[in-house]
Symmetry: C2
Subunit: 229 residues, 2 copies
């Protein structure tokens, strides 16, 4: 495991950095589902004490990315199709409600930001830079939440999103995937610019359900990552 902490001069507490590092490792499946974690081992690896590690694990437990069993151990949770659907449900409810409000409240400045993001996505797509594209994807959804006036919804959705993020992290880069995503993003923004709330909501719903479609494929490739139903 090659988890590393960033410089600690950036204002974040050690616990925050441990949290970020562990979450990234879990979402990227570097820490694969089912893996046993040891607070002591993690603390040694990261060069910190158990205290910030425990704090990070507690937050990850609230996101259902790890399960802490007293006196037994801490484990990266297996991916549960039900939990993935739960996360998708929450995200769909929040983001569809948010985009409706975004349509009502959209400003020229806000639309310009969205266009800037779309342009950057197109560049990332042409260069095949998946990481950059994912970052821009997140940023776009955050911008939309901001336009709705309830950016907090984005934070919450993100917190409920661990299982979905893992699905995305495990999705193999299929040809045409980035292009399709970018097209859907353009449709989202176009609907907002047109002031058509129903169209925007429908586009968002369709867009979010895309992620779910890759679950069966991943489950076929990595059955050991999933709970048995």
């Amino acid at each position: 495991m090659r988890i590393a902490l960033h410089d600690r001069v950036n204002g974040l507490s050690t616990g925050d950095q441990v949290y970020a590092a562990l979450r990234a490792a879990i979402v990227n499946a570097e820490l694969e589902p089912g893996r046993r974690l040891s607070e002591n081992e993690l603390a040694d690896l990261l060069g910190v004490s158990r205290t910030p590690v425990r704090e990070a694990l507690a937050r990850l437990r609230d996101e259902r990315l790890v399960a802490i069993v007293p006196q037994l151990g801490t484990f990266v949770t297996l991916i549960s199709p039900a939990a993935v659907e739960d996360a998708a449900f929450v995200r769909e409810a929040l983001e569809c409600a948010a985009i409706r409000r975004a349509v009502e409240r959209a400003t020229d400045a806000g639309l310009a930001e969205l266009q800037t993001n779309l342009a950057a996505q197109e560049r990332a797509e042409q260069q095949g830079d998946t990481d950059a594209f994912d970052t821009l994807d997140d940023a776009l959804h955050r911008l939309l939440a901001g336009l709705s006036g309830h950016e907090i919804a984005w934070t919450l959705a993100r917190r409920a999103n661990g299982h979905l993020d893992r699905i995305r992290g495990l999705s193999l880069p299929e040809p045409g995937y980035l292009g399709e995503m970018a097209a859907e993003h353009r449709e989202l923004v176009a609907a907002i610019a047109a002031g058509d709330a129903d169209r925007a909501e429908a586009a968002m719903r369709h867009h979010l359900r895309m992620v779910l479609s890759s679950v069966p494929h991943i489950q076929a490739v990595h059955p050991e990552y999933f709970e048995e139903s």
Copy 2:
């Protein structure tokens, strides 16, 4: 402050109990908004060490019920009208989406549970037992979330709900309030029983917006509890 821990033989860790005790105290405004909290003081009061207190405070921070300022102190957050609206937005989005699914998936057994809850609400209303009514209110919304197949949404909404819960905790028991709430609950269940998703969603939306209406009154009575805009 009369915060007390329950018996510790109920399977909950000390940190969980501290969290529950502190959250209840904050929501009931026993720990009033703006109040300064000291980890040491709380630990002494509760007869535990700082560690479980810190764990509880970290969770409350994620709910935005406390603000932790490094090297300075921990404070019960002031009620922010914006945060209240954020919470209402999140809850409305989640519960409206949930009740639509509940309409699709409602079973006879589920409807029977709802009816049982309604009957209990009527008893609590006649006896003027506000606490019991609040508990049944929570239970009803949880039942609805359960019927939707995404009970997790309820957990999440609840976690985002701290500011709304404080509003409810500060709402003075106005005459007729319980009756109105009970009537709205009956309408919710009736809409589900009728299989009318639009009606159910509209009823839920109206019901949830009721809570917001008491904000100005509370703000007038306790301006010191609120952030200045």
